[in-house]
Amino acid sequence: MIARAETRADVPASGVLASLLKRAALAAGVAFLLTVGIVGFELVSSTGELEYHTRFGSIVVTVAAVFFGYLAMGLLQAGLIWPAIIGAVVVGAVLLFVLVGSIRDPSLERFLPYESSIVDWSLLMFPVGIVLRGLWLFGKARSQAKTGRIAGSRRYSGWLAWALIGAALVLPFMPFADRRLVDIATLTLTYIMLGWGLNIVVGLAGLLDLGYVAFYAVGAYSYALLSTNYGLGFWVCLPLAGALAATFGILLGFPVLRLRGDYLAIVTLGFGEMIRIVLINWYWFTGGPNGINNVARPSFFGLDFDRNPDEGVAAFHTFFGIEYSPMQRVVFLYFLILACALVTNHFTLRIRKMPLGRAWEALREDETACRALGINPTNTKLTAFAFGAMFAGFAGSFFAARQGFISPESFVFLESAVILAIVVLGGLGSQIGIVLAAVVLIGIPEFFRELKDYRMLAFGLGMVLIMVWRPGGLLAHRDPTMLLHGRKRGRS
């Protein structure tokens, strides 16, 4: 702030404004070049012959938005808060007028740039954001309050974890918990478990794995094939799926774990794609692109969740003498994945304190030093790979059991990217951070399914923005677990 105040004193406001206008015009020019082709012309091939429709309105709106947005942000940065706020209010008011008007008078809609009214309305976020930021800066400049980081935030993570577990336990019994909410929570927990599993590989051992979904697929297909071909139950298959996935992890890991960093990333990515291609083409074994149908659902200590179970199988609702409700299975699956996830978490937290976990973390920090200390890097990495794969295998067989149907479509690279994003955005190595990132990336977008096209757009944008805003992840946690002479207290 001080440096900025000095520049403000040195350079007259008109000079600031001139250079700002120039830069804003430049940004607008870039925006024009970016949008003129791909936004301005829509390719349509409805009649078989390709033609184009023009959408110049969208270009004008985007270029204007970039120009004024850049100008407002620049003004805020230069300390000229009030002009920015007034400008944002004016732009916002015009926008609001058109938006409100378009409800009553549809002819105004042609001034709106996008086809979806929700997206048009969300344009209001920009002026509102600028006003809020301006007011915040204004308030800060007045009070000169120092906002320090909350010291010792780690201390709260203990009870925060217990509070989260408590909340997760009572969630399905809350009055507002309908089927949709529990389903979303189950999905989020699946990703939390996958994130915790991948965290062993990426966060602890520091191995960049872009093909994690391969092990998820191995787990899912193991369970689906074992149950449809041999009639094995979920609880028998769960450890088998984990073991198979871990075996795959070792098999794939063995040749490639000597590679470092980015090479490993690209090879794991290649393996992930290879497994998917094999699943698609190995028709007689995996069912090819059609996948596997009618995978058996898991039972609760031998009790089924069907209304009319098969001969000789007891049903959950008759055994406990309660009304049948489809929610029972949904809630059961929710608790199942919650238990699996908590086991993963517990495992990670414990193994970090064991020699193996320490070796992983040491390897992440300095491989050469580890070698000098007699740690075998290949074997150590291989165990991390195998454990990570095992948890993916568990999660995969849960996924197959929950869906009742699997196909290679579910195991595309995007899934690997999403899981890796959860781990990294949460802050590498941070267990709670992963929960937070999974809720932000999976849980919240799931509520906006109606906007499905914009959902993935926002997902990608969110990944970029979170990384730019906090490169270390939402809750960065990379401290060594153990330090000499309790230096830890002094630092955090």
Partner: protein
């Protein structure tokens, strides 16, 4: 022999396209050490820009094919290069000097963003473009099988050779190329000696994106259909090509691209089409195990 020669021609044409994309990966990796995951999508944007420009030129009445292709080439390179520049400015520059993994995640996010951006704007359907450059020259005949080289294949290989020559000149002879090589060796030292690091890195992205745009144009003409998803697979293969040739090495990228193209063509011809991607990746794994620096890469000295 005839069949073999035909596959050789097909493989070289395909490999040229991979090589053009691979250069973008290898340059960026060489200079800032990150995998620019969004590069495949930049190539996809290049293909879309080419298609749009062809239609515009068509409606403006430019029907002489060589002129149309030249105009499309220039404009598509400019428009796509802006994307390369903007992606670097928005998603990577703020993360310079951060952890290794942060720009990678940002790049994956950018890739998802660009794919869905084009999906939203242009729809999910494949966009066809019917024969702009058609016809072929029969080379020789053997046992009833005519080996022929298409005009399109000639065009692809010629354009690639010309661009590679120009590009080699740019890297070895110009100030910009010297600055790029300096940044690659030691960024801080280069900055101390007056090289504008930000500008050099931006230019690297611009060059990579414009080469990807050329590849996009070639693919649009060669296959005649594109969609928003083509960037992903082509991107992975081009990266594979870059690693195969030795990442950071420009001739290596071209060589790797050619090899991947040839492997794909021969594998599809003699074995199975379905597993051609598996073949490309298997070669990558084998190369990395036995020669981790790639074919033309310099050995990576490990420092403590």
């Amino acid at each position: 022999m005839a069949y073999f020669s035909q596959q050789l021609i097909n493989g070289l044409a395909l490999g040229s396209i991979y090589g053009l994309i691979a250069i973008g990966y290898t340059m960026v990796y060489g200079i800032i050490g990150m995998i620019n995951f969004a590069h495949g999508d930049i190539y996809m944007l290049g293909a879309f820009h080419s298609l749009i420009l062809f239609l515009i030129l068509g409606s403006l009445g430019v029907t002489w094919v060589p002129l149309a292709i030249l105009l499309v080439l220039v404009f598509a390179m400019v428009l796509t290069a802006m994307y390369g520049w903007a992606v670097e400015r928005v998603a990577y520059r703020p993360l310079r000097g951060s952890t290794r993994i942060a720009p990678l995640i940002s790049a994956i996010g950018m890739s998802i963003l660009l794919q869905n951006y084009v999906l939203l704007l242009q729809g999910a359907r494949g966009k066809p473009l019917h024969g702009v450059v058609t016809g072929s020259i029969p080379l020789f005949e053997q046992g009833g099988f005519v080996v022929q080289i298409g005009y399109m294949q000639i065009l692809i290989i010629l354009v690639t050779i010309v661009l590679m020559a120009g590009f080699t000149w740019l890297i070895t002879r110009t100030t910009l190329g010297r600055a790029q090589r300096a940044c690659e060796q030691d960024r801080r030292m280069a900055a101390l000696l007056g090289v504008n690091i930000d500008r050099t890195i931006s230019m690297t992205f611009v060059i990579g994106a414009s080469l990807a745009a050329v590849a996009g144009l070639m693919v649009t003409l060669y296959y005649g259909i594109i969609d928003f998803y083509i960037g992903f697979v082509a991107g992975i293969k081009a990266f594979t090509a870059a690693v195969l040739g030795g990442i950071g090495s420009l001739p290596g990228a071209m060589l790797g691209g050619m090899l991947i193209g040839l492997i794909e063509a021969f594998w599809s011809a003699y074995f199975t089409v379905e597993y051609k991607d598996v073949a490309a990746f298997s070669v990558l794994v084998l190369v990395l195990i036995f020669r981790p620096t790639g074919l033309l890469g310099k050995p990576d000295v490990e420092k403590v």
